[in-house]
């Protein structure tokens, strides 16, 4: 995710912790789409599809703890996070073409 997300913060410990958190982002997803397809099933077809996608991801508690600790201003405080579930249903669309060679 670091290729897509830019973290601007003067706190380098926070930036490093966020980069570490985002460096291993794996997720499960399921997508449902409907659409239109134009062309021929013999040579070339073009499609436009839209729908919704469900995704689910678990972030490491240790890495989130490092992020929180990097923003902790009080040495008398200690953060501890369990694993964090990130989920959602989002709109999705796809645009593409098929070339039938056989």
């Amino acid at each position: 995710m670091n290729k897509f997300v830019t973290i601007n913060d003067p706190n380098t410990a926070y930036v490093n912790a966020m980069r570490s958190l985002l460096s291993k982002t794996t997720y499960k997803f399921a997508t449902a789409q409907i659409g239109l397809e134009f062309g021929s099933q013999r040579r070339f077809s073009f499609y436009v599809r839209g729908g919704v996608t469900y995704f689910e991801n678990t972030l490491s508690g240790a890495e989130i703890t490092a992020v929180a600790q990097s923003k902790n201003p009080d040495p008398n405080n200690t953060y501890s996070f369990g694993d964090t579930k990130v989920s959602g249903i989002l709109p999705c669309a796809s645009l593409g073409f098929n070339i039938f060679v056989y």
Binding site: P73, N76, S80, G82, P91
Partner: protein, 192 residues
């Protein structure tokens, strides 16, 4: 008309779109006196547990992402809740001290550092009752009242808390303790 119904039906799932971050175990531990000093007087009478002479103590959450009631992210707004599950007070290792003579402890969100929550005006976050929870020795666990802490965290990221106690007296000698709060965090953005 029929086409309109079909299109509406197809678009309906888009109105249920969301993204959510959920963590049922966020623990913040705070040392009352700071380090190993013992700022709490021995044989403290029941009532407000003063910390370094003040009715309240302040916990600074820091400028954490999402730790505010709402955060604008692009075209949407993320709303956050931080529910207190339970809290605990762990006596720091010291000889001859215990919480045996304390029969009840309440943790309050206080509006100001001079407020005395025994007189009202505070929000009860968690409580301990020795008859219900058993006699405490080195550790007191307070049951949470499912209060959302996010609205009590100030713009400077601090939460003013106060302990009040019932019983005959606190630990015999001067003491210090680690206070921990176990919370559940949910941050959610709805689309559109």
């Amino acid at each position: 008309m029929r086409n309109l119904k079909v299109i509406s039906l197809l678009l309906l799932p888009l109105f249920g779109c969301f993204a959510q971050l959920e963590n049922s175990s966020v623990t913040l531990s705070h040392n009352l006196c700071g380090g190993t000093t013992t700022c709490m007087p021995g044989s403290m009478p029941p009532g407000v547990m003063q910390v370094t002479g003040l009715n309240t103590f302040s916990v600074n959450f820091g400028d954490q992402p999402l730790l505010q009631p709402s955060t604008s992210v692009g075209p949407t707004t993320v709303t956050t809740s931080l529910i207190l599950n339970d809290a605990a007070m762990q006596l720091q290792a010291s000889t001859g001290n215990n919480f045996n003579n304390i029969t009840g402890v309440s943790l309050w969100a206080a509006p100001t550092s001079s407020t005395d929550c025994t007189g009202g005006g505070c929000t009860l976050l968690a409580d301990y009752d020795s008859a219900r929870d058993g006699v405490a020795d080195q550790r007191i666990v307070l049951r949470g009242h499912s209060v959302d802490l996010i609205s009590y965290i100030s713009a400077s990221h601090t939460l003013d808390l106060q302990f009040t106690a019932t019983g005959t007296s606190g630990p015999t000698n001067a003491w210090n303790a680690d206070v921990s709060m176990d919370m559940g965090l949910i941050a959610r953005a709805n689309f559109p």
